[in-house]
Amino acid sequence: MGWQGIFDSSGILFTGFVSTLLLSIASIATGTALGLVVGLLRTARVPALRVPLRVYLEVFRGSPLLVQMLFIYFGAAYLGLRAVETFTAALIALTLYEGALISEIIRAGIEAVPRGQREAARSLGLSRIQIERHVILPQTVPIVLPPLVGQYIGLVKDTALATSIGYFELVREGQAIIDRIGMPIEVFMVVAVIYFVICYPMSLVARRLEMRALHA
Protein backbone atom coordinates (compact mmCIF):
# COMPACT_ATOMS: atom_id res chain seq x y z
CA MET A 1 0.00 0.00 0.00
CA GLY A 2 1.34 3.46 0.87
CA TRP A 3 1.96 5.89 -1.97
CA GLN A 4 1.58 2.98 -4.38
CA GLY A 5 -2.15 3.04 -3.62
CA ILE A 6 -2.41 6.68 -4.61
CA PHE A 7 -0.37 6.03 -7.71
CA ASP A 8 -2.76 3.24 -8.66
CA SER A 9 -5.62 5.73 -8.30
CA SER A 10 -4.07 8.29 -10.61
CA GLY A 11 -6.68 7.54 -13.27
CA ILE A 12 -9.44 8.59 -10.89
CA LEU A 13 -7.54 11.70 -9.87
CA PHE A 14 -7.07 12.56 -13.53
CA THR A 15 -10.83 12.27 -14.13
CA GLY A 16 -11.36 14.62 -11.18
CA PHE A 17 -8.77 17.01 -12.56
CA VAL A 18 -10.53 17.10 -15.94
CA SER A 19 -13.95 17.64 -14.31
CA THR A 20 -12.64 20.49 -12.19
CA LEU A 21 -10.90 22.01 -15.20
CA LEU A 22 -14.03 21.79 -17.36
CA LEU A 23 -16.25 23.37 -14.74
CA SER A 24 -13.65 26.09 -14.13
CA ILE A 25 -13.17 26.99 -17.78
CA ALA A 26 -16.90 26.98 -18.47
CA SER A 27 -17.71 29.18 -15.50
CA ILE A 28 -14.82 31.56 -16.18
CA ALA A 29 -16.29 32.08 -19.66
CA THR A 30 -19.92 32.50 -18.58
CA GLY A 31 -19.11 34.39 -15.38
CA THR A 32 -16.92 36.86 -17.28
CA ALA A 33 -19.54 37.36 -19.97
CA LEU A 34 -22.21 38.02 -17.34
CA GLY A 35 -19.90 40.24 -15.29
CA LEU A 36 -18.96 42.26 -18.36
CA VAL A 37 -22.58 42.87 -19.34
CA VAL A 38 -23.66 43.74 -15.79
CA GLY A 39 -20.60 45.94 -15.23
CA LEU A 40 -21.20 47.84 -18.48
CA LEU A 41 -24.91 48.27 -17.78
CA ARG A 42 -24.21 49.51 -14.27
CA THR A 43 -21.74 52.13 -15.48
CA ALA A 44 -24.13 53.14 -18.27
CA ARG A 45 -26.61 54.13 -15.55
CA VAL A 46 -29.72 52.92 -17.33
CA PRO A 47 -32.47 54.11 -14.94
CA ALA A 48 -34.78 51.12 -15.48
CA LEU A 49 -31.97 48.64 -14.73
CA ARG A 50 -30.44 50.38 -11.74
CA VAL A 51 -32.45 48.62 -9.04
CA PRO A 52 -32.68 45.13 -10.60
CA LEU A 53 -28.91 45.02 -11.21
CA ARG A 54 -28.21 46.23 -7.70
CA VAL A 55 -30.52 43.57 -6.25
CA TYR A 56 -28.83 40.87 -8.34
CA LEU A 57 -25.40 42.05 -7.22
CA GLU A 58 -26.22 42.21 -3.53
CA VAL A 59 -28.12 38.91 -3.42
CA PHE A 60 -25.44 36.85 -5.12
CA ARG A 61 -22.49 38.64 -3.57
CA GLY A 62 -24.09 38.54 -0.14
CA SER A 63 -24.92 34.85 0.18
CA PRO A 64 -22.68 31.76 0.22
CA LEU A 65 -21.98 30.08 -3.09
CA LEU A 66 -22.62 26.74 -1.38
CA VAL A 67 -26.17 27.79 -0.50
CA GLN A 68 -26.77 29.07 -4.04
CA MET A 69 -25.59 25.80 -5.50
CA LEU A 70 -27.81 23.72 -3.21
CA PHE A 71 -30.71 26.08 -3.86
CA ILE A 72 -30.40 25.77 -7.63
CA TYR A 73 -29.85 22.01 -7.64
CA PHE A 74 -32.50 20.99 -5.14
CA GLY A 75 -34.74 23.99 -5.77
CA ALA A 76 -35.12 23.02 -9.42
CA ALA A 77 -36.18 19.52 -8.43
CA TYR A 78 -38.54 20.82 -5.74
CA LEU A 79 -40.20 23.20 -8.18
CA GLY A 80 -40.82 20.20 -10.42
CA LEU A 81 -38.54 21.46 -13.15
CA ARG A 82 -36.84 18.84 -15.23
CA ALA A 83 -33.98 17.54 -13.14
CA VAL A 84 -30.91 19.71 -13.56
CA GLU A 85 -27.65 17.87 -14.01
CA THR A 86 -25.04 18.45 -11.34
CA PHE A 87 -22.67 20.07 -13.83
CA THR A 88 -25.37 22.43 -15.08
CA ALA A 89 -26.49 23.38 -11.58
CA ALA A 90 -22.89 24.04 -10.52
CA LEU A 91 -22.26 26.07 -13.67
CA ILE A 92 -25.36 28.22 -13.17
CA ALA A 93 -24.51 28.92 -9.55
CA LEU A 94 -20.88 29.71 -10.31
CA THR A 95 -21.89 31.97 -13.20
CA LEU A 96 -24.32 33.99 -11.10
CA TYR A 97 -22.02 34.23 -8.11
CA GLU A 98 -18.76 34.95 -9.92
CA GLY A 99 -20.59 37.18 -12.43
CA ALA A 100 -21.67 39.42 -9.56
CA LEU A 101 -18.13 39.72 -8.22
CA ILE A 102 -16.61 40.16 -11.69
CA SER A 103 -19.14 42.88 -12.56
CA GLU A 104 -17.76 44.95 -9.69
CA ILE A 105 -14.20 44.48 -10.93
CA ILE A 106 -15.27 45.57 -14.43
CA ARG A 107 -17.21 48.54 -13.08
CA ALA A 108 -14.27 49.73 -10.99
CA GLY A 109 -11.99 49.37 -14.03
CA ILE A 110 -14.32 51.33 -16.30
CA GLU A 111 -14.72 54.09 -13.74
CA ALA A 112 -10.93 54.33 -13.35
CA VAL A 113 -10.66 55.59 -16.95
CA PRO A 114 -10.64 59.41 -16.83
CA ARG A 115 -13.91 61.11 -17.73
CA GLY A 116 -12.16 63.15 -20.41
CA GLN A 117 -11.65 60.01 -22.50
CA ARG A 118 -15.38 59.54 -22.84
CA GLU A 119 -15.92 63.24 -23.56
CA ALA A 120 -13.27 63.31 -26.28
CA ALA A 121 -14.79 60.20 -27.85
CA ARG A 122 -18.29 61.68 -27.75
CA SER A 123 -17.01 64.88 -29.31
CA LEU A 124 -15.72 62.84 -32.24
CA GLY A 125 -19.21 61.44 -32.76
CA LEU A 126 -18.57 57.86 -31.61
CA SER A 127 -21.67 56.00 -30.45
CA ARG A 128 -22.02 54.74 -26.90
CA ILE A 129 -21.15 51.18 -27.89
CA GLN A 130 -18.19 52.33 -30.02
CA ILE A 131 -16.90 54.37 -27.08
CA GLU A 132 -16.94 51.35 -24.77
CA ARG A 133 -15.53 49.02 -27.40
CA HIS A 134 -12.71 51.16 -28.83
CA VAL A 135 -11.88 53.69 -26.13
CA ILE A 136 -12.88 52.57 -22.64
CA LEU A 137 -12.52 48.77 -22.54
CA PRO A 138 -9.00 48.67 -24.06
CA GLN A 139 -7.89 51.00 -21.28
CA THR A 140 -9.79 48.95 -18.70
CA VAL A 141 -7.95 45.71 -19.51
CA PRO A 142 -4.62 46.45 -17.80
CA ILE A 143 -6.51 47.83 -14.79
CA VAL A 144 -8.83 44.84 -14.30
CA LEU A 145 -6.52 42.01 -15.29
CA PRO A 146 -4.76 41.49 -11.95
CA PRO A 147 -7.95 41.47 -9.82
CA LEU A 148 -9.74 39.46 -12.51
CA VAL A 149 -7.17 36.68 -12.47
CA GLY A 150 -7.28 36.72 -8.69
CA GLN A 151 -11.01 36.15 -9.04
CA TYR A 152 -10.46 33.30 -11.54
CA ILE A 153 -8.05 31.59 -9.17
CA GLY A 154 -10.66 31.88 -6.43
CA LEU A 155 -13.22 30.48 -8.85
CA VAL A 156 -11.15 27.36 -9.57
CA LYS A 157 -11.07 26.62 -5.86
CA ASP A 158 -14.78 27.45 -5.52
CA THR A 159 -15.60 24.64 -7.94
CA ALA A 160 -14.81 22.30 -5.04
CA LEU A 161 -18.18 23.28 -3.57
CA ALA A 162 -19.85 21.40 -6.42
CA THR A 163 -18.95 18.27 -4.51
CA SER A 164 -21.89 19.13 -2.24
CA ILE A 165 -24.42 18.47 -4.98
CA GLY A 166 -22.63 15.34 -6.12
CA TYR A 167 -20.61 16.62 -9.05
CA PHE A 168 -17.58 14.37 -9.38
CA GLU A 169 -14.75 16.88 -9.39
CA LEU A 170 -11.33 16.68 -7.85
CA VAL A 171 -12.28 16.75 -4.16
CA ARG A 172 -15.02 14.21 -4.59
CA GLU A 173 -12.77 11.84 -6.52
CA GLY A 174 -10.16 12.25 -3.81
CA GLN A 175 -12.81 11.38 -1.23
CA ALA A 176 -13.66 8.29 -3.26
CA ILE A 177 -10.04 7.17 -3.16
CA ILE A 178 -9.89 7.75 0.60
CA ASP A 179 -13.04 5.68 1.04
CA ARG A 180 -11.21 2.81 -0.63
CA ILE A 181 -7.62 3.03 0.62
CA GLY A 182 -7.62 5.54 3.49
CA MET A 183 -4.57 7.83 3.66
CA PRO A 184 -6.58 11.10 3.79
CA ILE A 185 -3.52 13.28 4.44
CA GLU A 186 -1.61 12.01 1.44
CA VAL A 187 -4.60 12.05 -0.88
CA PHE A 188 -5.69 15.57 0.03
CA MET A 189 -2.10 16.72 -0.34
CA VAL A 190 -2.07 15.44 -3.89
CA VAL A 191 -5.45 17.08 -4.51
CA ALA A 192 -4.09 20.40 -3.23
CA VAL A 193 -1.06 20.12 -5.48
CA ILE A 194 -3.32 19.54 -8.49
CA TYR A 195 -5.28 22.73 -7.67
CA PHE A 196 -1.98 24.56 -7.44
CA VAL A 197 -0.93 23.19 -10.82
CA ILE A 198 -4.10 24.68 -12.33
CA CYS A 199 -3.85 28.04 -10.56
CA TYR A 200 -0.16 28.88 -10.73
CA PRO A 201 0.07 29.10 -14.55
CA MET A 202 -2.88 31.52 -14.42
CA SER A 203 -0.80 33.83 -12.24
CA LEU A 204 2.07 33.61 -14.71
CA VAL A 205 -0.14 34.30 -17.74
CA ALA A 206 -1.73 37.25 -15.95
CA ARG A 207 1.63 38.78 -15.21
CA ARG A 208 2.67 38.44 -18.86
CA LEU A 209 -0.56 40.05 -20.11
CA GLU A 210 -0.25 42.82 -17.58
CA MET A 211 3.28 43.67 -18.71
CA ARG A 212 2.25 43.61 -22.36
CA ALA A 213 -0.77 45.84 -21.77
CA LEU A 214 1.37 48.32 -19.88
CA HIS A 215 3.89 48.58 -22.70
CA ALA A 216 1.41 48.73 -25.55
Binding site: P114, G116, Q117, A121, R122, S123, L124, G125, H134
Partner: protein, 243 residues
Protein backbone atom coordinates in the same frame (compact mmCIF):
# COMPACT_ATOMS: atom_id res chain seq x y z
CA UNK B 1 -24.54 83.00 -41.75
CA UNK B 2 -25.10 82.23 -38.08
CA UNK B 3 -23.15 79.23 -36.89
CA UNK B 4 -23.93 79.20 -33.17
CA UNK B 5 -26.75 80.78 -31.25
CA UNK B 6 -27.36 80.65 -27.51
CA UNK B 7 -30.64 82.07 -26.23
CA UNK B 8 -31.08 82.74 -22.53
CA UNK B 9 -29.13 79.62 -21.53
CA UNK B 10 -29.33 78.59 -17.89
CA UNK B 11 -27.18 75.84 -16.44
CA UNK B 12 -26.98 74.71 -12.86
CA UNK B 13 -25.05 72.04 -10.99
CA UNK B 14 -27.46 71.19 -8.18
CA UNK B 15 -27.83 74.45 -6.23
CA UNK B 16 -25.05 76.29 -8.02
CA UNK B 17 -26.16 78.27 -11.06
CA UNK B 18 -23.19 78.46 -13.41
CA UNK B 19 -24.79 80.06 -16.47
CA UNK B 20 -27.39 82.71 -15.71
CA UNK B 21 -28.98 83.53 -19.01
CA UNK B 22 -26.35 83.57 -21.75
CA UNK B 23 -27.16 85.06 -25.14
CA UNK B 24 -24.48 84.70 -27.78
CA UNK B 25 -24.37 84.58 -31.56
CA UNK B 26 -21.34 83.46 -33.54
CA UNK B 27 -21.13 83.96 -37.29
CA UNK B 28 -19.43 81.59 -39.72
CA UNK B 29 -15.70 82.29 -39.89
CA UNK B 30 -15.67 84.31 -36.71
CA UNK B 31 -13.01 83.81 -34.03
CA UNK B 32 -14.54 84.52 -30.63
CA UNK B 33 -12.30 84.61 -27.58
CA UNK B 34 -13.89 83.92 -24.22
CA UNK B 35 -12.20 85.30 -21.13
CA UNK B 36 -13.16 85.41 -17.48
CA UNK B 37 -12.04 84.35 -14.02
CA UNK B 38 -11.93 80.65 -13.16
CA UNK B 39 -15.38 79.48 -12.16
CA UNK B 40 -17.08 82.20 -14.20
CA UNK B 41 -18.74 79.61 -16.46
CA UNK B 42 -16.70 80.03 -19.64
CA UNK B 43 -15.69 76.37 -19.94
CA UNK B 44 -19.20 75.29 -19.06
CA UNK B 45 -20.52 77.41 -21.92
CA UNK B 46 -18.27 75.60 -24.42
CA UNK B 47 -19.28 72.25 -22.97
CA UNK B 48 -22.95 73.19 -23.30
CA UNK B 49 -22.43 74.05 -26.98
CA UNK B 50 -20.81 70.65 -27.50
CA UNK B 51 -23.55 68.69 -25.75
CA UNK B 52 -21.34 67.64 -22.86
CA UNK B 53 -23.59 69.31 -20.28
CA UNK B 54 -27.39 69.39 -20.25
CA UNK B 55 -29.01 72.77 -19.70
CA UNK B 56 -32.06 73.62 -17.59
CA UNK B 57 -33.47 76.45 -19.68
CA UNK B 58 -32.85 78.26 -22.93
CA UNK B 59 -31.90 77.17 -26.43
CA UNK B 60 -28.62 76.21 -28.08
CA UNK B 61 -28.46 76.09 -31.85
CA UNK B 62 -25.41 74.96 -33.82
CA UNK B 63 -25.74 75.11 -37.60
CA UNK B 64 -29.48 74.63 -37.27
CA UNK B 65 -29.24 71.70 -34.83
CA UNK B 66 -31.18 72.16 -31.57
CA UNK B 67 -28.59 71.01 -29.02
CA UNK B 68 -31.10 71.68 -26.20
CA UNK B 69 -33.27 68.89 -27.63
CA UNK B 70 -31.94 65.60 -26.16
CA UNK B 71 -33.33 63.69 -29.13
CA UNK B 72 -31.20 65.59 -31.62
CA UNK B 73 -28.32 66.82 -29.47
CA UNK B 74 -25.88 64.13 -30.65
CA UNK B 75 -26.02 65.51 -34.20
CA UNK B 76 -23.90 68.42 -33.01
CA UNK B 77 -20.82 66.17 -32.93
CA UNK B 78 -20.89 65.97 -36.73
CA UNK B 79 -20.08 69.66 -37.09
CA UNK B 80 -18.20 70.61 -33.91
CA UNK B 81 -14.64 69.65 -32.99
CA UNK B 82 -13.37 70.18 -29.47
CA UNK B 83 -9.90 70.47 -27.96
CA UNK B 84 -9.52 69.98 -24.21
CA UNK B 85 -7.18 71.34 -21.60
CA UNK B 86 -5.95 67.84 -20.73
CA UNK B 87 -5.63 66.77 -24.42
CA UNK B 88 -7.65 63.59 -23.77
CA UNK B 89 -5.77 61.60 -26.37
CA UNK B 90 -6.49 57.87 -26.31
CA UNK B 91 -3.34 56.52 -24.60
CA UNK B 92 -3.63 53.01 -26.05
CA UNK B 93 -3.58 54.26 -29.65
CA UNK B 94 -0.79 55.79 -31.75
CA UNK B 95 -1.02 59.42 -32.88
CA UNK B 96 -2.29 58.29 -36.28
CA UNK B 97 -4.78 55.81 -34.79
CA UNK B 98 -6.11 58.58 -32.53
CA UNK B 99 -6.84 60.60 -35.67
CA UNK B 100 -8.23 57.77 -37.79
CA UNK B 101 -10.46 56.04 -35.20
CA UNK B 102 -13.49 58.27 -35.74
CA UNK B 103 -12.84 58.55 -39.49
CA UNK B 104 -13.27 54.79 -39.73
CA UNK B 105 -15.94 54.20 -37.11
CA UNK B 106 -18.09 57.32 -37.53
CA UNK B 107 -17.51 58.38 -41.13
CA UNK B 108 -17.08 54.74 -42.25
CA UNK B 109 -14.04 55.60 -44.36
CA UNK B 110 -11.94 52.57 -45.34
CA UNK B 111 -8.61 52.01 -43.60
CA UNK B 112 -6.41 53.14 -46.47
CA UNK B 113 -8.27 56.39 -47.12
CA UNK B 114 -8.50 57.08 -43.38
CA UNK B 115 -4.74 56.64 -43.10
CA UNK B 116 -4.19 59.11 -45.93
CA UNK B 117 -6.50 61.67 -44.33
CA UNK B 118 -4.99 61.06 -40.92
CA UNK B 119 -1.49 61.71 -42.20
CA UNK B 120 -2.71 64.88 -43.93
CA UNK B 121 -4.25 66.08 -40.66
CA UNK B 122 -1.02 65.37 -38.78
CA UNK B 123 0.86 67.29 -41.46
CA UNK B 124 -1.39 70.30 -40.89
CA UNK B 125 -0.21 70.45 -37.29
CA UNK B 126 3.43 69.73 -38.18
CA UNK B 127 3.54 66.17 -36.86
CA UNK B 128 3.83 64.19 -40.09
CA UNK B 129 6.96 62.53 -38.66
CA UNK B 130 5.20 61.14 -35.56
CA UNK B 131 2.31 58.96 -36.80
CA UNK B 132 3.44 55.82 -34.97
CA UNK B 133 4.24 57.52 -31.64
CA UNK B 134 2.06 56.84 -28.63
CA UNK B 135 0.81 59.86 -26.65
CA UNK B 136 3.14 58.99 -23.76
CA UNK B 137 6.10 59.39 -26.13
CA UNK B 138 5.09 62.92 -27.14
CA UNK B 139 5.55 66.26 -25.41
CA UNK B 140 2.51 68.14 -24.13
CA UNK B 141 2.60 70.50 -27.09
CA UNK B 142 2.81 67.61 -29.53
CA UNK B 143 -0.02 65.78 -27.78
CA UNK B 144 -2.24 68.85 -28.01
CA UNK B 145 -1.42 69.21 -31.70
CA UNK B 146 -2.42 65.57 -32.27
CA UNK B 147 -5.67 66.36 -30.47
CA UNK B 148 -6.24 69.28 -32.84
CA UNK B 149 -5.46 67.06 -35.84
CA UNK B 150 -7.89 64.45 -34.51
CA UNK B 151 -10.67 67.03 -34.37
CA UNK B 152 -9.77 68.61 -37.74
CA UNK B 153 -9.74 65.28 -39.56
CA UNK B 154 -13.50 65.07 -39.01
CA UNK B 155 -13.86 68.30 -41.03
CA UNK B 156 -15.87 70.25 -38.45
CA UNK B 157 -17.57 73.58 -39.16
CA UNK B 158 -16.69 74.89 -35.70
CA UNK B 159 -13.71 74.30 -33.42
CA UNK B 160 -13.98 74.76 -29.66
CA UNK B 161 -10.81 75.24 -27.63
CA UNK B 162 -11.21 74.81 -23.88
CA UNK B 163 -8.04 76.28 -22.33
CA UNK B 164 -6.02 74.34 -24.87
CA UNK B 165 -2.69 75.73 -23.66
CA UNK B 166 -3.29 75.95 -19.90
CA UNK B 167 -1.71 72.58 -19.11
CA UNK B 168 1.41 73.24 -21.18
CA UNK B 169 4.85 74.36 -20.11
CA UNK B 170 5.29 78.00 -21.16
CA UNK B 171 7.84 77.18 -23.86
CA UNK B 172 5.37 74.79 -25.52
CA UNK B 173 2.44 77.21 -25.72
CA UNK B 174 3.67 78.82 -28.94
CA UNK B 175 3.55 75.65 -31.05
CA UNK B 176 -0.12 75.15 -30.16
CA UNK B 177 -1.23 78.77 -30.54
CA UNK B 178 0.70 78.75 -33.84
CA UNK B 179 -1.55 75.99 -35.17
CA UNK B 180 -4.61 77.84 -33.86
CA UNK B 181 -3.53 81.08 -35.59
CA UNK B 182 -3.11 79.23 -38.87
CA UNK B 183 -6.55 77.70 -38.45
CA UNK B 184 -8.09 81.12 -37.83
CA UNK B 185 -6.41 82.47 -40.97
CA UNK B 186 -7.92 79.63 -42.98
CA UNK B 187 -11.35 80.91 -41.94
CA UNK B 188 -12.34 78.31 -39.34
CA UNK B 189 -15.14 79.34 -36.98
CA UNK B 190 -13.57 79.18 -33.53
CA UNK B 191 -14.60 79.63 -29.91
CA UNK B 192 -11.53 79.89 -27.75
CA UNK B 193 -11.49 79.92 -23.96
CA UNK B 194 -8.01 81.13 -23.05
CA UNK B 195 -5.83 83.07 -20.67
CA UNK B 196 -3.38 83.96 -23.47
CA UNK B 197 -4.20 87.64 -23.84
CA UNK B 198 -1.62 88.18 -26.61
CA UNK B 199 -3.28 85.49 -28.69
CA UNK B 200 -6.71 86.94 -27.91
CA UNK B 201 -5.67 90.38 -29.10
CA UNK B 202 -4.00 89.17 -32.32
CA UNK B 203 -6.39 86.47 -33.46
CA UNK B 204 -9.79 87.31 -31.99
CA UNK B 205 -12.47 89.02 -34.04
CA UNK B 206 -14.40 89.51 -30.84
CA UNK B 207 -13.69 89.09 -27.16
CA UNK B 208 -16.42 88.03 -24.75
CA UNK B 209 -15.93 88.62 -21.04
CA UNK B 210 -17.93 86.29 -18.82
CA UNK B 211 -18.47 87.18 -15.19
CA UNK B 212 -20.44 85.06 -12.72
CA UNK B 213 -22.34 83.18 -15.41
CA UNK B 214 -23.27 86.18 -17.51
CA UNK B 215 -21.76 87.97 -20.46
CA UNK B 216 -20.61 91.20 -18.83
CA UNK B 217 -19.12 92.78 -21.91
CA UNK B 218 -18.10 91.96 -25.46
CA UNK B 219 -16.49 93.72 -28.38
CA UNK B 220 -13.51 93.82 -30.73
CA UNK B 221 -10.23 93.12 -28.90
CA UNK B 222 -8.90 96.61 -29.67
CA UNK B 223 -11.82 98.15 -27.82
CA UNK B 224 -12.25 95.64 -25.01
CA UNK B 225 -8.58 95.45 -24.08
CA UNK B 226 -7.89 99.20 -24.24
CA UNK B 227 -11.09 100.83 -23.05
CA UNK B 228 -13.42 98.35 -21.35
CA UNK B 229 -16.59 100.01 -20.14
CA UNK B 230 -17.63 97.52 -17.45
CA UNK B 231 -15.73 97.97 -14.16
CA UNK B 232 -15.66 94.17 -13.70
CA UNK B 233 -13.88 93.82 -17.04
CA UNK B 234 -11.44 96.56 -16.06
CA UNK B 235 -10.71 94.76 -12.79
CA UNK B 236 -10.22 91.38 -14.47
CA UNK B 237 -7.96 92.74 -17.20
CA UNK B 238 -5.95 94.73 -14.70
CA UNK B 239 -5.30 91.56 -12.76
CA UNK B 240 -4.35 89.28 -15.67
CA UNK B 241 -2.33 91.88 -17.58
CA UNK B 242 -0.27 92.93 -14.56
CA UNK B 243 0.74 89.50 -13.36
Amino acid sequence: MTMIELRNVHKRFDELEVLKGIDLTVEKGEVVIIIGASGSGKSTMLRVINNLEPIQAGEVWVKGIPVHDPKRADEVHRCVGMVFQQFNLFPHLTALANVTLALQKVKKIDAEDARRRGLAALERVGLEDKPESYPSELSGGQQQRVAIARALAMEPDVMLFDEATSALDPELVGEVTGVMRQLAQEGMTMLVVTHEMGFARDVGDRVVFIDEGQIAEQGPPAVLFTSPSNPRTQQFLYRVLNR
